[in-house]
Subunit: 320 residues, 2 copies
Amino acid sequence: MAITLGLDVGGTKVLGVAVDAGGTVRAERRVSTPVGLDGLRRALVEAAEALRADTAGDETRAVGVGLPGLVDRQGVLRTGPHLPEARMWPAAAELGHALGLPVRVDNDANVATWGEARAGAGRGVGHVVMVTVGTGLGGGIVVDGTLVRGANGFAGEIGHLPVVSGGRVCPCGQAGCWERYASGTALGMLAREAAAAGRAPAVLARAGGSTAEVSGEHVTDAAAEGDRAAIALLAELGHWLAVGLAGLVDVFDPERIVVGGGLADAGDLLLGPTRAALDRMVMGHDVRPSVPVVPAALGERAGAIGAALLAREPVESARG
Amino acid sequence: MAITLGLDVGGTKVLGVAVDAGGTVRAERRVSTPVGLDGLRRALVEAAEALRADTAGDETRAVGVGLPGLVDRQGVLRTGPHLPEARMWPAAAELGHALGLPVRVDNDANVATWGEARAGAGRGVGHVVMVTVGTGLGGGIVVDGTLVRGANGFAGEIGHLPVVSGGRVCPCGQAGCWERYASGTALGMLAREAAAAGRAPAVLARAGGSTAEVSGEHVTDAAAEGDRAAIALLAELGHWLAVGLAGLVDVFDPERIVVGGGLADAGDLLLGPTRAALDRMVMGHDVRPSVPVVPAALGERAGAIGAALLAREPVESARG
């Protein structure tokens, strides 16, 4: 059977899978993300070789890799948050040479979007918006069954949509990016404000009584046990998630919105308020169908599976 | 020669063209937009018949129509700002029956985008964002050479991206839509504030000294004659235009941005500040090429030409 390999580089681990054409995982490997580019290069090659050995009876056709940062259509990492020395790293060319296989490299959020769209919660749907709500906010877009990559390959950076222009400062250099209002970091900020104002005693208790220690996880934990203040904080986060999603619905008119990332584990405590707010905010909501907002299905494997499936796709030209 | 017809319904006129495969206009007709749906239906049929007569030696293959409002993929006008009684009007089916030709109907901003992308300022480029800055703010998106229409056909409503969530109230029901900050209406508001504060005497003089009468046109006229206060107001508008464009560049990574609409006539007085602000705001601007921002090329004909060219395209299924 012809398989492809997918390698997803995260902040803490590299997750690798061998996947068949249907997206079924045939083998899996994981290693801690090494510090530095030399270590990462070696870890990626070793993971791919190990997965080939795991599936020795199958033909390995190609390898897909998901990297955090801006990856261009030639598979060059222009810049990445965790690899400052890897600026302009020709990842696809180097790894392809080392492995003797075609290697396709894309942004980590884009490959996770492709995984969910093809083999997860967006399966069977042509128009998908995926948003990953973790420490930050990422995502990707599928239009007419194709991943939107853009002229250079940099498309899909939805976390930096300006939703409160001039608002909270973002590490990207702008102020008011969606990520500053709808992410685990934003939830922590909302929770610290609430705790400081005496509005979230159960959340504060989980942080040992120290306002400065309050994080998004204290909120989701307290909400899961029914704490009303924590539930209200998740609803507020849901409002902000809906603000940007409404803009994306106006622009893309998707059939489905898939929500992944750690905060998706909060389930309907987050997605319920998100859906309610979104249905009010979309332009023309009284004459169009509501867009389903569903949790992601592939968990932490979405990126690796998506990278493997993307490696099967024909490489379109940079200029459409 | 095989031609197609394009009919663009505006607030004041219906503009019709007969166009060849290259987008060259072979005949043109225009009539005032009638009041009411019966009158509009009749005017569209008559314009099409007149254009067929004008090009009697050619074979008319199909007709494209651009309508203001939400038009679904079956060519039904779900709702439109100028035609309250036309809710759920099956425009494509009715006009197709009356004309005995395939009729394709889409949103007016989408057909104008297609016109500019195929035969105007976006020609030869696969990834285009078009923004039309008039009284309001509209536009459309081309990805990989294809117009983004979305699941229902409602994609491209970029004017309602939330850029100041909770900000200025928009007729769409939301608060803080981009259109409220980057349009002729927004320019008028900025100018009235400046006039009231005594910061725009030349602009105020053009409005007969009445602050309430100050409009965006007074600003563009004064700026064209070198008034510094008016030029500063256009620069402020350019900042707001760049805010939403930066979000669209983050999401779509286009090769080119085309700016149309009445305010594009301000030329570099508007587009210069827009370009400068955009280049600072795009994510990763230090590692990616600047996106050219160019004025539209087809003027008021963009929609009609685009409708005619869109009528040549194969009709893809609603589900990608």
